[in-house]
């Protein structure tokens, strides 16, 4: 998994609440058994004009030239709600996103982000709104720097926002640790657990 330490990149605001994973990647865009190549389908229902083609909808934020190269998304409340499809994260990553700053995340989506090395940061609504406002007010391509080690977001106007993040999540992102490798290495006591549990709850073990 790719590690995440410090990122300076263009950022785009998408301050809608309850952006669901059907919006992030519609079902019709998931057409192969693969984690790759999903970027084209990202936000397809909003990004392209109605009718199923690929003609860009100029109103959508990522189609505006100054936000087209965004690698950081600034989002609203409960981002990534709905379906558990990890395709939503694969699509964001394939498009180039490395971090999402939101008021809050739907829990499954949040974990899917971390498992793919995508930083998912929560900030209070007023701070997210201010951040988005600054991005919109910026004349050209607005950039942010996210320093995960120092737990700081730096605006291009030299503003600094401190953020908090679960210590274990931070460590996994900093080191790019694969959760399964980690568990296979560190998890002990499973055999003893099964031995005891099979006595106590034999009907579980088919």
């Amino acid at each position: 998994m790719q590690s995440f330490r410090i990122l300076t990149a263009p950022a785009a605001p998408l301050l809608r609440d309850n952006v669901d994973t059907d919006a992030i990647i519609p079902s019709r865009e998931i057409t192969s058994v693969s984690k790759q190549g999903l970027g084209l389908g990202l936000f397809a229902g909003w990004r392209y004009r109605p009718g199923g083609g690929r003609e860009p909808n100029p109103d959508f934020v990522l189609n505006q030239p100054r936000f087209a190269a965004a690698r950081i998304l600034v989002a609203g409340e409960n981002f990534g709600c709905g379906s558990s499809r990890e395709h939503a994260v694969w699509a964001l990553a394939d498009h180039g996103f490395r971090a999402i700053i939101a008021v809050s995340f739907a829990p499954i989506f949040h974990d899917n982000c971390i498992n793919n090395g995508l930083l998912a940061l929560s900030l209070p609504r007023v701070m997210v709104a201010a951040l988005a406002q600054a991005l919109l007010a910026h004349g050209s391509e607005p950039c942010l720097t996210i320093d995960l080690e120092r737990q700081e977001i730096l605006g291009s106007d030299a503003s600094v926002i401190r953020f908090s993040i679960d210590a274990e999540v931070r460590q996994r992102l900093l080191e790019g640790l694969d959760a399964i490798d980690l568990s296979l290495r560190k998890l002990t006591g499973l055999d003893a657990f099964y031995q005891r549990d099979a006595q106590e709850r034999p009907w579980v073990y088919l």
């Binding site: 301050l15 809608r16 609440d17 309850n18 669901d20 059907d22 919006a23 519609p26 079902s27 019709r28 998931i30 057409t31 192969s32 058994v33 693969s34 984690k35 229902g45 109605p50 009718g51 199923g52 409340e77 409960n78 709600c81 709905g82 379906s83 558990s84 499809r85 990890e86 994260v89 809050s104 739907a106 829990p107 499954i108 989506f109 974990d111 899917n112 498992n115 793919n116 210590a167 274990e168 959760a179 399964i180 568990s183 296979l184 560190k186 998890l187 002990t188 006591g189 499973l190 657990f193 549990d197 106590e200 709850r201 034999p202 009907w203 579980v204 073990y205 088919l206």
Partner: protein, 483 residues
């Protein structure tokens, strides 16, 4: 007792320190190891389906990892498979066949029981798991599918995960998880005629919002929940994910045990007696605390329906599109929802003509759902110009419905009668309901584009869907009865 459980109880500040909740008890039974960070929780059942199954199983294989406890892993073909009569592996969706064939091959290679196309036990994962007795009280159950919370209705801890987490559960037999905060939702009172679990969940969502239960383990309780039959309880817990909860659960009781007794994978004989004794001790102890409690009186609850593009955009079926100030949503989201749904503030929902009606899904595709719709439809015809479909939630549900003659009622009324699967709950099968078409649907999500690009979805109970199909516009099933 884990440190964390103790801390939470102290933080709660209420209740008896010794009293434990349903979640506390399941949590403690499944705690394998705690280190720095989230503890490892043993997983009793993993379910897969063809949209995510092949990716997870092939991902494991590529990394040289094997499936632990394959006998407790199950796979079904439900999401992408066609539901039209005479189906094969072919789908209307481009590339759909590959999802099915590669999932089949991967499941067979891993030694996992597959409920394949044509298998008499095939069906939607959250319909067949309880139906087969695979979901049992006290179990931990996961599936790369957000509606896994459905299965919590039997008194299990069941939750949806992503593909990577599914690989983790398959490879290690565990997941790492911090114990979620608890939220008890009590529905008190007696439900009126034609008002049920779907209406309860939409009431909760309309009051507390789609993020109202974010990350929490919701335990549904109260007199109205105790009075629900098992299938209605699945409906209620199914919608917990629309509340952004990690799970919905209901303490097991006689209703649960009667439902499970004799099911294929449920314990039998002496093993059943022993399991039952354990299950009877699972219910939350008197005085067990929770982090938050919500109480909703349901005596006067009317059938509910959504007007907008989030499940929280719900109101009485007799009601109107709310004004922005009463919509429980931001001005921007409200304006977007009205534009997408082609609605005006204050418009009576009963004035909305519909193009389609859909009955099915893991929310409302069980035999009791089909019976309740069939009671409304019996001897009647749907309105001209309405396209209506009934898609049983499992092959067993389909056979049962046919044995009871429900298929004839649906067909005579003008419904298509399908093979079981997720179907038009979403667009994955390659079918859609059409740009700008308005559908009343017994499903779970009214998101933009969920049932096809530009399709406008109103979610409601099967009875409300049936009544609306008959009238050709959104209808109150109670007024139809009186007519």
């Amino acid at each position: 007792m884990s440190e964390q459980a103790r801390d939470e109880r102290l933080a709660g500040g209420q209740g008896d320190a010794q009293a434990r909740s349903l979640l506390d008890k399941i949590w403690q039974t499944h705690l394998v190891a705690a280190g720095s960070g989230a503890p490892w929780i043993a997983i009793d059942r993993v379910f897969l389906h063809e949209r995510t199954g092949a990716i997870a199983l092939e991902g494991l294989k590529q990394r040289g990892r094997t499936v632990q406890g394959a006998a407790r892993v199950f796979c079904t073909i439900d999401h992408i498979v066609d539901t039209r009569p005479g189906r094969t592996d072919e789908t209307l969706m481009p590339g759909g066949r590959e999802f099915i064939t590669r999932t089949r091959a991967a499941a067979q290679a891993a030694g996992i029981r597959l409920f394949d196309v044509g298998d008499p036990d095939q069906g939607i994962v959250h319909v067949i798991a309880p139906e087969l007795g695979l979901a049992l009280p006290g179990l931990t159950i996961v599936c790369p599918d957000s509606h896994t919370c459905t299965q919590g209705a039997v008194g299990a801890f069941a939750w949806g995960i992503g593909s990577t987490e599914a690989e983790h559960a398959l490879a290690t037999g565990t997941l790492r998880l911090n114990k979620p905060a608890s939220l008890r939702v009590r529905f008190e009172g007696r439900l009126g005629a034609h008002v049920g679990a779907k209406d309860l969940s939409l009431r909760l969502l309309s009051r507390r919002g789609a993020a109202g239960g974010r990350g929490k383990a919701v335990e549904f309780a109260g007199s109205a929940v105790r009075a629900l039959d098992m299938e209605a309880r699945f409906t209620l817990c199914n919608m917990a994910t629309e509340f952004s909860a990690i799970t919905g659960m209901i303490a097991p009781d006689e209703t649960t045990y009667q439902y499970l007794a004799g099911r294929d994978f449920a314990p039998r004989g002496a093993s059943w007696d022993r399991a039952l004794a354990t299950w009877r001790s699972l219910a939350s102890d008197e005085g067990a605390s929770c982090d938050e409690e919500i109480c909703i009186d349901v005596d006067d609850l009317a059938p509910m329906i959504t007007w907008g593009t989030s499940p929280q955009h719900a109101t009485d079926v007799t009601g109107r599109v709310p004004e922005a100030s009463d919509s429980g949503t931001t001005q921007e989201a409200y304006a977007r929802a009205l534009q997408y749904m082609d609605l005006k503030p204050g418009q009576a929902l009963s004035s909305l003509r519909i193009d389609a009606a859909f009955i099915g899904s893991c929310t409302n595709g069980r035999i009791s759902d089909l019976r309740s719709a069939a009671r409304v439809l019996a001897g009647r015809k749907i309105a001209p110009g309405v396209r209506a479909l009934c898609v049983p939630g499992s092959s067993r549900v389909k056979r049962q419905a046919e044995a009871e003659g429900l298929d004839r009622i649906f067909r005579s009324a003008g419904f298509e009668w399908r093979e079981s699967g997720c179907s038009l709950c979403f667009y994955a099968g390659g079918e859609d309901l059409g740009l700008g078409k308005r559908v009343v649907s017994s499903t779970n999500r009214n998101f933009e584009g969920r049932q096809g690009p530009g399709t406008r979805t109103h979610i409601a109970s099967p009875a409300t869907v049936a009544a609306s199909a008959l009238r050709g516009s959104i209808a109150d099933v109670r007024s139809l009865e009186a007519a």
